[in-house]
């Protein structure tokens, strides 16, 4: 712990870490010094001049350097000018007088508010920030009663200036505090918004293309201390004081960001509660006070018109309404009859409790349960995954973080952000990928390998000179592995190479060590812990079975799977929305969205976290776990637990890594710094305080005292196929904004999703006679799809990058033919 110093603020003696800013130290002592530009997560800049205070320091004798003593105490010398409490650091013996004790400070702050208001439109009645606005609040508390600036020609500026398609700037309201600009620069590392002009003409602008091109853009609206930055999602949608709040967990990626869902009764929803916005909720060990734009804006699928509201079954070849009892009975009958050929296909979109019931049903009925994912390797993250005490926020010098086969920015944005910051604090960051990714900019070492060589590359990492040394000499090592260019088999062997490397070198079973999967979905890790596996040749496995598909849309994802399902014996689909798979189902079971129910998710960092209901269920939908129980009952199998917490209790009793966990434990909170989200929005922004639970880590095999042995890597399975003449090797990559069911339903994101595309090196394109933007047809293994050509110099020759879930169903590296589409 850093050295503590004692200082006095408004007559009270307090202790704070040396070097802490006066504003932050005061805050810890319960004293509020008003600020606009200062934010506890950003470097102090002293711009707004709101935090003016009087500061006195013990006087030193010039000759001796000793403190001057007067009346038995050090003599305190005050500077004639007020000083900014944000930029001054606490020192031993310092004396601070804030606005409550110093008339001078009070006047200074009042002056600053008056200056700010000279250019401010004071349009609070129509401002989205009204009610949670630092400027409004601090004006009430510290500003002058009336304005002496009476010019009719008060600045008139743009009221609706889109910085991009998601964030709108009101130039009149902006107070030039630069919090947004500094957030993008310091925290996100993407300075795509900035100031133009100077003096009073200074304005926020974005020149990126597309505008405000950052997946973290929404956070700027949380820390904007006025209503200058708003999201298109919430702009003019509701007043903050009308909103209810429910704690939730983002379901878009394995990070598991803590969120708060703000809801309101809405006429257009028939007087029902709807989610009006998604806000970050503080969890310093997971997402701090940030979330990415996907998490903030993609929630609209939960109120999509395509939501399933009633159970359906097929009658005369058509899907027709059925009662819950009839629908589940029909499914149960077919599953029972299928015996060994009963197969469950479930995705990591589901909660732990849902997955546990599904797995129990498969086990008790003699069927099989597969995880619907293109990634393998979860047995290993369950074995040597990270556990208790692991926190990217605590990593710096002495920690090594390896990221392999993953573009974290696209796949798990908040991990990207936290890994970047760890690197900036001194952690050794090693990025291994066949092409350049955004994270590389912050890497200590960035190495390239060829697609197909990933497992071998990792296996030999220790021998790779400086990088090898950086690895072997590290105190703590974390490896994040992903699925760039890899299918289920490839990721499985990459995972085992990583796990072996970690295990052999002792980087397991202690805080800040272990393996993390950059999974496709929010709860893939939970599925693995509960005992799900992926089937490498899923199409083959599906043939002729009675299949229970939960939270997945294989028909839309992959023509091969669609075909295989065509030959299935019976299909029951349980989902929140109509999908291409529900269209071919024999029974359709409407499930509740995560906004409508309770449950837990296990993040990629193996943290189990609770989410809570925010809005009432849609139609007759039910939570997944209870639908499964109902089917089970018809099959003569009793799955205990009607309450979701009871299911969780059974789960934690039967699965070792969950041992000791229960809902009460997951709801525990502790004091987090910085202090945010209380009445004092001026300080941390509109991020919510976490009062509903920080969650808890699963235990790791090594900490449980189990011996861990990692299977040998199958070298034969990893190499990518060799394309023939005139073929390219197509490799799947992951894209944040894809055409997945839970993204596509949000119109807001359509511009960012874009078209189906295939990216080529300019040379490769030239050889084939393609140009940027041209339509081509990509064919392989008897399937094909159309895509637009994008050129990218960071790709190797002869490779075609194909984003997943963007229309062309490539699960693993395959040779493809790319042909030009004749223009219509």
């Amino acid at each position: 712990m850093s050295k503590q110093v004692k200082f006095t603020i408004d007559g009270t003696q307090v202790t704070a870490p040396e070097g802490m800013g006066v504003v932050d130290a005061a805050k810890m002592a319960g004293i509020d010094i008003p600020v606009f530009c200062h934010h506890p997560k950003l470097e102090p800049v002293g711009m707004c001049r709101m935090c003016l205070v009087e500061i006195g320091r013990p006087m030193r004798d010039r000759a001796t350097g000793q403190f001057v003593i007067e009346n038995g105490a050090p003599k305190i010398q005050f500077l004639p000018k007020l000083e900014t409490a944000c930029t001054n650091k606490v020192e031993e013996g310092m004396v601070v007088l804030t606005q409550t004790q110093s008339g001078k400070a009070k006047d200074g702050q009042k002056g600053t508010v008056e200056f700010l208001l000279t250019s401010h439109p004071l349009d609070c009645p129509i401002c989205d920030k009204g009610g949670e606005c630092p400027l409004q609040n601090l004006t009430m508390a510290h500003g002058p009663g009336k304005s002496r600036f009476i010019y009719d020609e008060k600045l008139r500026l743009g009221k609706r200036v889109p910085l991009g398609e998601l964030i709108v700037l009101d130039q009149e309201r902006c107070i030039q505090c630069a919090r947004c600009v500094r957030f993008q620069d310091e925290i996100a590392g993407e300075p795509v918004i900035g100031f133009a002009e100077r003096g009073r003409a200074m304005q926020i602008v974005s020149f990126s293309d597309p505008g405000f091109d950052s997946v973290f853009s929404g956070n700027t609206t949380d820390i904007c201390p006025v209503g200058a930055l708003t999201t298109v999602d919430f702009r003019f949608e509701a007043r903050p004081w009308e909103l209810e709040a429910a704690a939730s967990i983002c379901t878009q990626c394995p990070v598991g960001c803590n969120t708060t869902l703000n809801t309101r009764r809405e006429a257009k929803a028939g007087g029902d509660f709807v989610v009006k916005r998604v806000m970050p909720r503080q969890n310093e060990e997971v997402n701090e006070i940030w979330i990415c734009d996907k998490g903030r804006f993609a929630h609209h699928y939960t109120d999509s018109k395509k939501r399933l509201i009633k159970p359906l079954f097929r009658k005369d070849k058509k899907l027709t309404r059925a009662s819950w009892d009839a629908a589940t009975k029909l499914a149960a009958d077919h599953f029972l009859a299928a015996k060994k050929d009963f197969l469950i296909l479930a995705s990591g979109r589901l909660a732990n409790e849902d997955l546990f019931n599904l797995k129990s049903l498969a086990d008790l009925s003699g069927g099989k349960a597969y995880l619907y994912s293109h990634m393998g390797g979860g047995e290993l993250t369950s074995l040597v995954g990270v556990s208790n005490g692991t926190n990217f926020g605590s990593m710096g010098k002495g920690n090594t973080i390896i990221v392999v086969a993953s573009d974290l920015y696209e796949e798990a944005p908040i991990w990207y952000l936290r890994v970047k910051q760890a690197a900036e604090r001194g952690a050794t960051l090693i990025v291994l990928n066949p092409r350049e990714t955004k994270l590389e900019r912050f890497a200590t070492h960035a190495l390239r390998y060829d697609y197909g060589d990933e497992a071998k590359f990792v296996h030999d990492l220790g021998k790779k000179g400086k990088v090898g040394e950086a690895f072997t000499s590290a105190e703590n090592v974390i490896i994040l592995f992903g699925s760039e260019g890899l299918g289920a088999a490839g990721t499985a062997s990459l995972a085992s190479a990583c796990a072996k490397l970690l295990n052999d070198n002792g980087f397991v079973g202690k805080p800040n060590n272990g393996l993390i999967g950059v999974w496709e979905r929010a709860n893939d890790q939970g599925a693995w812990e509960i005992g799900f596996h992926v089937e490498e040749d899923l199409a083959k496995a599906l043939k002729g079975k009675a299949i229970y598909i939960v939270g997945a849309d294989p028909v839309a994802d992959d023509p091969k799977l669609a075909k295989a399902l065509g030959g299935a014996e019976f299909i029951a689909v349980q989902d929140v929305m109509e999908t291409e798979t529900t269209e071919i189902a024999d029974v359709v079971l409407p499930a509740q969205a995560f906004t409508e129910r309770e449950g837990t998710l296990t993040s990629g960092e193996r943290r189990v976290q609770r989410f809570y209901p925010a809005v009432p269920p849609t139609g007759d939908s039910k939570p997944d776990f209870s639908i499964t129980s109902q089917i089970a009952r018809h099959m003569g199998i009793i799955l205990e637990g009607t309450l979701v917490s009871a299911v969780f209790d059974i789960l934690s009793d039967s699965i070792k890594s969950f041992e000791g966990l229960n809902y009460a434990r997951l709801a525990e909170v502790k004091e987090q710094l910085p202090i945010v989200g209380r009445g004092d929005l001026y300080y941390g922004g509109t991020t919510y305080e976490n009062t509903q639970g920080l969650g808890a880590h699963l235990s790791a095999a090594a900490t449980r005292g189990e011996t861990v042995s990692i299977p040998r890597v199958h070298a034969s399975r990893e190499a990518a196929p060799h394309p023939k003449e005139k073929e390219l090797l197509a490799v799947p990559i992951n894209k944040l904004y894809d055409r997945g069911t839970t993204v596509l339903a949000s119109d807001l994101l359509h511009e960012r999703i874009g078209d189906a595309r295939v990216a080529l090196h300019p040379e490769t394109a030239k050889r084939l006679g393609f140009e940027e933007g041209q339509m081509v047809n990509v064919s392989f293994n008897g399937t094909s799809g159309d895509a637009v050509v994008r050129l990218d110099e960071s790709i190797s020759h002869g490779i075609a990058l194909v984003p997943r879930s963007m229309g062309i169903a490539i699960r693993e590296p395959v040779p493809v033919k790319v042909r030009s589409k004749v223009k219509a």
Partner: protein
């Protein structure tokens, strides 16, 4: 484009700064780019951003902080008359008025032949030689001191000849 057209100049500019200070080159590169058309266009900003590994927004916000960079096309020459306090005490404002009359434009406007944009600027460190102005054009920035309207009109015709 910039890199292709002026490889030597770009390299020479970059060589002045340490690798960690590469971004320092943004100002000289903007001057280089501005030589082309008298203003910095979007393509040039993209170019510079790429050379220096910064964002286009970074570059644009620099362009729009400093008054010697222009992001819009104006006259071939900017004629920038100092009307700051010391020059004004020595007749600079009257000089500028007379110049406007002679050119038939207002301060801030461009002549109809798009040759000249007339501007009033703050102190140019030539207070003892007022009235004075600088011209900013294809030949860089030049000072013209102890001026009067006749001398100025003469200068304009000389400049016009030199570019045609």
């Amino acid at each position: 484009m910039l890199l292709k057209k002026y490889p030597k100049e770009v390299q020479q500019i970059l060589s002045k700064y340490p690798p960690e200070g590469k971004r320092s080159a943004v100002m000289p590169l903007l001057f280089l780019a501005q030589r082309e058309e008298g203003y910095v266009n979007k393509a040039a900003m993209q170019d510079i951003a790429k050379i220096l590994d910064i964002t286009e927004t970074d570059v644009a916000s620099i362009v729009r902080f400093y008054t010697l960079y222009h992001d819009k096309k104006a006259g071939k020459y900017h004629m920038q008359v100092c009307t700051d306090l010391p020059c004004a005490l020595r007749g600079a404002e009257e000089f500028l008025d007379a110049l406007c009359d002679n050119l038939g434009i207002e301060v801030g406007e461009t002549t109809s032949d798009r040759f000249l944009t007339l501007e009033a600027v703050t102190c140019l460190a030539a207070c003892d030689k007022a009235p004075m102005f600088q011209t900013q054009g294809p030949d860089g920035i030049k000072y013209h001191e102890n001026m009067n309207v006749d001398k100025t009109m003469g200068l304009i015709s000389v400049l016009k000849k030199s570019v045609t």
